[in-house]
């Protein structure tokens, strides 16, 4: 959804702003290129999927991940400290009895370093307004229907905590190795709008 600007108009405005800042010595185009490249290279849902798979195969790691996400992810070479403000990673576990789903009603806070860029729907007013009020219906729209007795928890990331859902390990996966398990994990599963 676009505002009153056409894409060419706003892209010109952005270029003009960049030039102004470069001329004033505030920052350079090369710095911006580096920011984009680093972001696209390192931030991906594959990071989260590796954490989930490790937690599934290694119960002691799972405990550490749930107790202190910031420390545990460093075991896999990941970090929450690349950002500009300290962020706490809280991993919330799905079970047979509990299903978790994440939102930021106030803006769109999201664990970018663990899951990559957020999907458009996550940032939308439609999702942010409804999932805190009618989560069961919202999940059904994503194709996820939960038994009535499953307790639903909606986590609103209104401060510096970033949440990651640890989905249930699917049945019939006992023979799979960590890499194969990671391939089963989707971004929506780690937000809570899919089972896995």
């Amino acid at each position: 959804m676009s505002g009153t600007h056409t894409d060419s108009s706003i892209s010109q405005q952005v270029r003009d702003l960049e030039s102004t800042l470069e001329q004033r010595g505030v920052l350079s185009g090369l710095e911006l290129d580096a920011v984009i490249d680093r972001f696209l290279a390192s931030a991906s849902p594959l990071n989260g999927a590796r954490l989930v798979a490790r937690a599934w195969v290694d119960p002691a790691f799972r405990e550490r991940l749930l107790a202190d996400g910031n420390a545990a992810i460093e075991e896999l070479g990941l970090s929450m400290s690349g950002g500009v403000q300290p962020q706490l990673l809280r991993v919330v576990e799905n079970t047979d009895a509990v299903h978790n789903v994440i939102v930021c009603t106030l803006c769109s806070c999201y664990p970018i370093s663990i899951l990559g860029p957020s999907p458009s729907w996550y940032k939308s007013e439609a999702y942010r307004s409804r999932v805190v009020r009618q989560p069961r219906q919202v999940l059904a729209e994503f194709g996820l229907s939960l038994a009535e007795e499953v307790e639903l928890r909606v986590w609103d990331a209104s401060a510096e905590t970033r949440y990651l859902v640890l989905p249930c390990r699917p049945a019939g996966t006992d023979g799979l190795g960590e890499e194969e398990l990671a391939a089963l994990v989707t971004r929506n599963g780690m937000i809570g709008t899919a089972a896995v």
Partner: protein
């Protein structure tokens, strides 16, 4: 359940009933309107962080306060629903709710 250490100076602890202040500030804040005046239960503490309300108003230095994960029952927020909504709230957004 995370066992995040609570500093000795944290005002609230897991299990405390707290009410979100009804005050609607004329500046940036991070207490969503749907929580104002609502009573929830402190689940856990999520560290100590600078208060955004202070940062945007140029309060120097900005206060740093405990941030809590507070669980609200859907029925208490919306009058219906079986789910819980857990919201991160700075300490100064909250006041203690004594049990009746």
């Amino acid at each position: 359940m995370a066992c995040l250490p609570e500093p000795a100076t944290a005002r609230y602890h897991a299990g405390d009933r707290v009410k979100v202040r009804t005050y609607d500030p004329p500046h940036h804040t991070r207490a969503p309107r749907y929580t104002r005046g609502r009573v929830g239960t402190v689940m856990e503490m999520h560290g100590v962080h600078r208060v955004p309300d202070d940062v945007v108003r140029g309060v120097t230095p900005p206060s740093s306060e405990a941030v809590y994960a507070v669980a609200f029952a859907a029925a208490d927020l919306w009058g219906e629903g079986q789910h819980q909504v857990i919201v991160n709230l700075w300490e100064s957004y909250l006041e203690r709710q004594e049990r009746a």
